[in-house]
């Protein structure tokens, strides 16, 4: 992709099926028309996301990840978005100890018909990620993080 090659931050977004409607905003692969470096993956509920998947996405080379849930207080499944918000905060603290900036992990909350606000948030997110220094290349990292994360997860 030309935009990604031009240095736009690569971002993976997990979007709850009941949160913002993205029909017409993306191509079949989930790539946003407005920001081709952003790929959306639809999931049944924001609370479905296992925090290790976000970590894995960053390790695989994504510059940032975000999760979109329904507005707080209005989760279709009652508390999925609150749970996800807590999990992302915990993950931010945990990754901060390994010098991963918290800005790389974001929780958004937008209702089904709130796409303007959603797109504005994504644009803001890309701006913030662009200002961060690029992460160390994935290959240059030791193999340790995988084990470290397992130990921390168990403790």
């Amino acid at each position: 992709m030309s935009a990604a090659a031009a240095g736009a931050p690569r971002v993976v977004g997990f979007v709850c099926d009941w949160a913002v409607a993205t029909a017409g905003l993306t191509d079949e692969a989930g790539r946003l028309h407005a920001h081709p470096s952003v790929v959306l993956i639809r999931v049944p509920c924001s609370g479905f996301i296992r925090p290790s998947w976000l970590e894995d996405a960053l390790r695989a080379g994504a510059d940032g990840v975000f999760v979109v849930g329904c507005p707080y207080g209005d989760c279709l499944n009652r508390e999925g978005n609150y749970l996800m918000q807590e999990r992302i905060e915990q993950l931010q603290r945990r990754l901060q100890r390994r010098k991963v900036e918290p800005e790389r992990l974001t929780m958004l909350a937008h209702g089904l018909h709130d796409r303007e606000a959603f797109l504005a948030d994504v644009a803001g997110l890309l701006d913030a990620l662009g200002r961060l220094r690029p992460p160390a290349p994935a290959a240059a990292r030791p193999a340790a993080p995988a084990r470290a994360s397992a130990e921390e997860g168990g403790s």
Binding site: I41, C45, R50, A57, G73, L76, N77, L112
Partner: protein
């Protein structure tokens, strides 16, 4: 057809939220707490009702006089009566908002039908409590409501006469009638709490109370209203005497207002049909989830060998669909080898949201239609391009 209307109504409901959320922070949107507000008003009704109960005299001659004494002589009595009166209105309004909101946003389907069914019972009981509450005041309006209610009951074939007997505690209005009305006011009101247990039993952390801001605002509005527009009684009821003129609350007493124009049996049948349709709502279109545009994730599955019995999914499941049972045998992985408990998903309660998958750090749960490997592959494709 039904489906199309419902989709449109959902768009309006959620579109309204977008506007409200521009004014309030989204977790203070009052429409997200209609259930909690209903419960708050019920609580206010119980407290003010207990106060009124100390003064109320359930007899034909004493009822109207005791309410007048409470309103005029007892310190703050009129205020508390007004609070009781307006909380009842607010209770019904909040309950109806709660009903329509959950209907239009699809929160009553499949495994979530039991809150809907208990909710219909709550509405039925709550509505009846409201009607007997109007009668207890025992002014002219109460008498009209009472005789219309008896007439509606009598119009039911076969059992109608018996119902009317139960309602009046005898063949006609007698000394037994007012105690019976009080019983029919307080009894079903207490039953609301039994039904509320049913309403909450499948929910983990039910949102029973609205945020403090809305508790205080609601209490303030109801108190102000009670002070500025006091609740008053009409002329005392005199059985046998035709009432002259009176004011009828069309919002609440619509069936009684209609009774002046429509045969009573049609009204009873209409109310009955309304509730039968209400009870049927979760089961309409039930056989055809794909046509409804719902993506079926499949019931969450426990990966037996990986489960460590840590209970994280059990605490996070919003519907109490996961129970922990004593582990019958050790797990396969090192972390699961010494487990004492094993998670089990109760299929009939699972709404297929996947929140337990996010809660599980041991990869011991999965949604059949959203396997972790597929997601990882999509993430890899996304970052490679």
């Amino acid at each position: 057809m039904y489906r199309r209307y419902l989709t449109a109504l959902q768009r309006w409901t959620l579109g309204l939220d977008v506007w409200i959320n521009r004014v309030y922070p989204s977790d203070l949107n009052p429409l997200y707490y209609t259930g909690g507000l209903t419960n708050l008003f019920l609580f206010v009704l119980v407290l003010s009702g207990i106060f009124i109960f100390f003064y109320y005299v359930p007899s034909l001659n004493g009822a109207h006089a005791s309410v007048a004494y409470l309103t005029e002589q007892v310190p703050y009595g009129g205020l508390i009566r007004g609070i009781h009166r307006y909380s009842a209105d607010a209770f019904i309004i909040a309950a109806l908002l709660h009903l329509f909101r959950n209907w239009f946003t699809d929160r009553y389907l499949f495994a979530r039908d039991s809150p809907w069914i208990s909710g219909m019972f709550l509405l039925l009981f709550g509505g009846f409590v409201g009607v007997t509450g109007y009668i207890l005041v025992w002014d002219e309006r109460a008498l009209v409501v009472f005789s219309e209610l008896v007439r509606l009951m009598r119009s039911i074939p076969l059992v109608g006469e018996r119902f009317a007997w139960v309602l009046q505690a005898g063949p006609g209005i007698s000394d037994e009638t007012m105690p019976r009305m009080l019983l029919l006011h307080v009894g079903p009101a207490s039953a609301l709490y039994v039904l509320l247990w049913w309403h909450y039993v499948r929910l983990r952390h039910p949102k029973v109370w609205p945020p403090a801001t809305w508790v205080l605002t609601s209490l303030g509005i109801v108190t102000l209203l009670a002070a500025v527009v006091p609740a008053v009684s009409g002329t005392p009821a005199q059985p046998g005497v035709q009432p002259t003129t009176m004011w009828l609350d069309v919002f609440y007493l619509l069936p009684f207002w209609l009774a002046g124009y429509v045969p009573p049996f049609l009204i009873v049948a209409g109310i009955g049909l309304l509730f039968v349709a209400g009870f049927a709502i979760p089961y309409v279109n039930r056989e055809d989830p794909h046509a409804m545009g719902i993506r079926h994730a499949g019931v969450a599955q426990v990966v037996d060998g990986n489960c460590t019995g840590c209970e994280l999914c059990y605490y996070d499941c919003p519907y109490n669909a996961i129970v922990m049972v004593p582990s019958p045998y050790p797990g396969a992985t090192r972390a699961a080898a010494n487990r004492k408990l094993l998670a089990v998903v109760i299929d009939s309660r699972c709404v297929e949201c996947g929140i337990c998958i996010g809660a599980c750090p041991f990869e011991a749960l999965e949604l059949p239609a959203f396997m972790e490997s597929d997601l990882q592959r999509r993430v890899a494709e996304a970052v490679r391009a």
